[in-house]
Symmetry: C2
Subunit: 377 residues, 2 copies
């Protein structure tokens, strides 16, 4: 039998300040000073300390440091998103990470899958590890459980969706107004029967987008038909099915507004499977990669995800730096990107009921791949 056969994970013997101090023949406190770059240390002594640290492979323990330090900062923040694998969440994570990096702050990640219980559990886990702050895309309807943590000094900033029953900073898109813009864009192409395909009705932003859809129709004097509204589509498959069902109605919509990117993709897939992608107009909420490579390209209301993440992080750090101004919600503009699918005229849908004939492509030539975009609120 070789040496050390103890099966239980024994504590790794990492060198500490004490070890470095012993080797450099100084007091531990002096090592601390050198590590923290305190200038009032004899250069020769500092060199000796650094040499000893190098020789031992010493690395400071930030865990212990933050415990003792006056500010108690751990130099880490927590981030709660819908799903780290979702392109929207992924982009958000990355932009927050970039701002955090500027300050040497690390980012902890948690995916919620729209589960309010997970939101609370993970928030608690982050807090138990004493993160300096949180960036949260809430899944639940009530963030009041965070009030005690705010008072205990943990800064919280919300991204994408505003908090409920809690006062805190938030960075969001104007979902309602953007939905209005999207629906009006479809109406401008002559559409009068416009379907709505949406995410979970309980998600604030989904509700706001539906509200915008309804409002746009009402202002235009068009009826809001229940048969043309489908919600709670949480998977691509559900969106495919809902699209098929809606288009099979006696009076099917000639255009669709999809309120989230999985839904948009599912809808797009259904239209292609039915061969109707050039006859039924569609505008989606949220941009996604390759939307411009499809034929027709998918017109979307694009959120500026990077801006949302960057702003949320900047606001969080401003708070951590002592900003005590009242919490505020920052609204980031969205942008309509016309790529073809949203500009299909109503005539295309009415011309051929269900034939195999391809209508002439109503999209701009391929050369103009990146289409123009109009700025909105």
């Amino acid at each position: 039998m070789p040496e050390g056969s103890s099966e239980q994970p024994k504590r790794p013997n990492r060198p500490t300040m004490r070890d470095v101090a012993l080797l450099a023949r100084v007091a531990p406190k002096t090592v601390s000073r050198v590590v923290n770059g305190v200038p009032t240390v004899d250069p020769a002594m500092a060199a000796r300390v650094r040499e000893a640290a190098r020789k031992l492979g010493y690395r400071p323990n930030l865990t212990a440091s933050s415990l003792r330090r006056g500010d108690g900062r751990t130099r880490s923040i927590g981030m709660l998103v819908e799903d780290a694998a979702n392109p929207y969440s992924a982009a958000l994570i990355r932009s927050v990470e970039d701002i955090a990096r500027e300050r040497g702050v690390l980012v902890l990640i948690g995916s919620l899958d729209e589960d309010p219980a997970r939101e609370r559990e993970l928030a608690q886990e982050f807090i138990d590890r004493r993160v300096d702050g949180l960036v949260v895309v809430p899944a639940g309807q009530d963030q009041g459980y965070l009030r005690a943590e705010q008072q205990a000094g943990t800064c919280v900033v919300f991204a994408d969706r505003e908090p409920r029953l809690l006062e805190a900073d938030a960075v969001v898109s104007d979902n309602r107004e953007s939905a209005v813009t999207a629906v009006r864009h479809l109406m401008a192409a002559g559409h009068r029967r416009i379907g709505y395909l949406g995410d979970l009705a309980s998600i604030t932003t989904a509700a706001q987008r539906l509200d915008g859809y309804r409002h746009a129709l009402e202002v235009a004097g068009l009826p809001v038909a229940d048969a043309l509204i489908r919600q709670d589509l949480t998977t691509e498959q559900a969106a495919v099915a809902a699209t098929r069902e809606m288009l099979a109605l006696p009076e099917p919509p000639t255009a669709l507004f999809t309120s989230q990117n999985l839904v948009t993709i599912g809808c797009s897939r259904a239209l292609r499977e039915l061969g109707m992608q050039d006859r039924v107009a569609m505008v989606g909420f949220d941009d996604f990669p390759l939307a411009d490579l499809l034929r027709p390209g998918i017109s979307v209301m694009a959120q500026d995800v990077e801006a949302i993440g960057t702003l949320a992080a900047r606001i969080l750090f401003r708070r951590l730096d002592g900003d005590r101004t009242p919490p505020a919600t920052t609204v980031v503009p969205t942008r309509l990107i016309a790529r073809g699918s949203g500009e299909i005229p109503v005539a295309a849908a009415l011309a051929v009921p269900a034939a195999a004939v391809e209508p002439p492509a109503p999209e701009p030539p391929a050369a103009a791949a990146r289409a123009e975009g109009a700025l909105d609120v």
Copy 2:
């Protein structure tokens, strides 16, 4: 002026075990026992402690706990990926997170952007926070800098790419063999001039894929032409440009093998801009969302990202549980997914030099959206 106007961020006064102990009239150690669920506590006393904790909003400080605890575990791991916003990295993060969650372990994220210096810096930052382990998609050519940390007890598992100059567990795809499969698939459609468009030559996996490409050609007795090999394409734009240039050669390739998903997308875009997407065959490495929605669908060698992440995490935790078997590399099978682009026959390219005539679509009908896949090594 209100109260506490001290501008400097004062330490938040969070209740500690001592506070709970005082209120419950027990010793701090008893609170510790209750919090940790030690069964040898008088039930009445435990109830009193829990009530006091609830009343004060007490939350244990895992930072202090891990400092004092025998195993020194922080119940957090670090993950170094190429870019958290990239779909491949995002999927990897999510699958690691899911395994970690089962154990109440949180995940710290760091994006490297293929920068070896960042790899070392971030690994160091994670270690300074005493993560229990690391899952690394390395950017650099030498991971020897981690040897000391391994010996100090930090477990490291590599994902997607094997480590260099370091013995550690790794979970990877068989890149070389998969590239051979992809190229042979193109050869099966009659192609003899096959171009290679690849990522940074310094990335291990890119080199392996190029190697497989070369090997497949050599075995088939075909020449390996330098003009048909382009590397170091780090952006979609670079891939677009390289594709254009290669197709403008006097003897252009009739098929392309792209070694990474950004390159695949760039190549796809270039083909569409040239109107050649139905004449030049293409197989990409790495699957990506919407690859099946394009026309033709993009044929790919799909890596099983979820399996790679899940396995890497499981191996990491097995190590943390005390597994001391020698480090090993686990190979995860890839899968050829035929969607149309890879099955375009050589005849399509040779038929029409540069006309506007559309050849009959050589792809399967739209109904069979999810095409068949063959299993490989």
